[in-house]
């Protein structure tokens, strides 16, 4: 009864010789659609935000703020959709949880860092998005000189609003993600308090005042 096994082997060898050269490239492409383990379909949304002591703000106005540094390996770097801080603009009545990534989930529960921009302390442009009818509704009261406070799991930051711009949603000149200095941009849909989606955006620009600088070399 060895013959049926021989038939089976010959069939597969012949099929491999004839078909494989023609379909190997397709198989390689198809392999990209598969991972090494089963898909985890339920994403755990983690909150890693544990406030740290505010050392950068001077206790009295005569002292200058300390420029602390924090090692990048010394704190938990947030994963996509993790809550890792909170954002406050007291003059605008804004207090929102801060998420890493600006997904639907993040914007439903707070405000989120735009994918491709930096986190506070990184020395680059930080872009934070929020919905105009919910967490960023208070941006309609934003004015130059107001202070934006961001507390994260690795340090506390302060920025000062320097300007406001209303522009089209495809206007890429409204932001510079390659900037070499730390700056904050808050953006949301415009106009505020209207029903429906809009293709205009309000950009609120702020300059860095204080907060620990992330040491990327460690």
């Amino acid at each position: 009864m060895i013959l049926p096994i021989v038939f089976c082997i010959i069939t597969y060898l012949a099929a491999a010789a004839v078909i494989l050269p023609a379909v190997s490239s397709y198989l390689a492409v198809a392999d990209m659609f598969f991972s090494d383990k089963h898909q985890a379909l339920s994403k755990e949304h983690t909150n890693i935000f544990v406030p740290v002591e505010d050392t950068s703000v001077p206790s009295d106005s005569s002292q200058t703020p300390r420029q602390d540094t924090v090692n990048i390996s010394g704190f938990t770097f947030p994963s996509y959709e993790d809550q890792f801080g909170e954002l406050m603009i007291e003059d605008c009545g804004i207090k929102a949880d801060l998420f890493f990534g600006d997904s639907w989930y993040a914007l439903r529960n707070g405000v989120g860092i735009y994918n491709g921009s930096a986190i506070p302390g990184y020395g680059k442009t930080i872009m934070i998005a929020g919905h105009n009818n919910t967490y960023f509704n208070g941006l309609k009261y934003a004015e130059k000189g107001q202070i934006v406070r961001i507390r994260t799991n690795y340090g506390n930051y302060r920025y000062e609003i320097t300007g406001i711009k209303i522009t089209d949603n495809v206007d890429s000149s409204a932001y510079d993600l390659d900037a070499d200095s730390e700056n904050l941009i808050l953006y949301t849909c415009y106009p505020f308090d209207t029903l429906g989606l809009t293709d205009q955006r309000a950009f609120i620009y702020a300059k860095y005042l204080s907060g620990p600088v992330i040491d990327k070399n460690h």
């Binding site: 009864m1 013959l3 049926p4 096994i5 038939f7 089976c8 010959i10 069939t11 597969y12 659609f33 598969f34 991972s35 090494d36 383990k37 089963h38 898909q39 379909l41 639907w104 989930y105 914007l107 439903r108 919905h131 105009n132 009818n133 919910t134 849909c189 106009p191 308090d193 209207t194 029903l195 429906g196 989606l197 809009t198 293709d199």
Partner: protein, 293 residues
């Protein structure tokens, strides 16, 4: 005299060997054609069958999962657009979603372009928005008509993306063009299987040999048909597909696993036939042995 007898015996053995080789070859071709016939039959019953797709959708609870996902996306969208969250429930009703999925699948297997028709959805959503504005007594300043149109179009895009199955429109044209060829292939392979089996059966002088070679072919066919799906199922590769949407993931796993399991139907038929032919072989072989001790 002895030399002649020896030579005759030698010729007879050589002829017998050639005959055996020839019948083995025919058994191999029987095995090969049976495997190909099984493959084509399984494809016709699964990949090319609308019923199979609907069954896979049913088993994987596809419609309900799509409804849930669609409602989540729509809730996010209405939230972003300044509506109350509960507004999403007013235009994501189960019946219409179920109907849209069925229409989409029907158009796919019917050879039409697999495009989701969003007209009814847009009309329903527009009416729901108007009701919302009236109910909330909103003034014109807070309702930008451009914004509402933008919102409805965005919602229709999400709706269309959720109902549609990725790559279906690409695969659709191949399914349609291959359907006829597959029917022809099944017909030709059936004739070939019957032809080879008839040759094995009617050209063998001894009955036990007829059943032995048929049994080889049937077992070879069963084995060849079983190896590939068993390998795929044991590798666990199907469950490792990178699909993040729950509805699509479960549909894909159910659909592909179902195809693999479907291969065991012809495998069991072939094994049953092999068992019958083996029984006949044993019966006629013992008769032959008794007649030629």
């Amino acid at each position: 005299m002895s030399e002649n007898k020896h030579s005759h015996h030698h010729r007879h053995r050589r002829k017998s060997r050639w005959r055996s080789f020839l019948y083995c070859l025919m058994s191999f071709f029987l095995s090969l054609t049976l495997s190909l016939l099984s493959l084509c039959a399984v494809l016709a019953l699964t990949v090319f069958s609308e019923d199979y797709m609907l069954k896979a959708m049913n088993t994987s609870d596809y419609s309900n999962t799509v409804k849930y996902e669609l409602k989540t996306y729509m809730t996010d969208l209405v939230y972003a657009s300044g509506f109350e969250e509960s507004f999403a429930s007013s235009f994501t009703d189960s019946y219409n979603i179920q109907k849209a999925i069925e229409n989409y699948i029907e158009s796919f297997y019917g050879g039409d372009k697999s495009i989701v028709d969003t007209t009814a959805f847009k009309q329903q959503l527009y009416a729901a928005v108007q009701n919302y504005i009236t109910e909330k007594n909103l003034d014109e300043n807070t309702v930008a008509s451009d914004g509402i149109t933008y919102f409805i179009n965005e919602a229709a895009d999400i709706y269309s993306d959720q109902i549609a199955i990725p790559f279906f429109s690409v695969i659709g044209k191949y399914i349609e063009s291959t359907r006829t060829s597959l029917s022809v292939a099944i017909g030709v392979l059936t004739v070939m299987v019957l032809g080879i089996a008839a040759v094995i059966f009617f050209t063998n002088r001894f009955k036990h040999r007829r059943y032995r070679y048929l049994c080889y072919g049937l077992l070879g066919g069963a084995l060849t048909t079983a190896v590939l799906p068993t390998f795929i199922l044991l590798s666990g590769k199907i469950g490792q597909v990178n699909l993040e949407t729950r509805s699509l993931y479960h549909l894909f796993v159910e659909y592909c696993s179902g195809i693999c399991y479907a291969f065991y139907i012809p495998v069991f038929i072939l094994l049953a036939l092999a068992a019958v032919t083996f029984g006949m072989y044993v019966k006629y072989y013992s008769k032959y042995r008794n007649a030629n001790p």
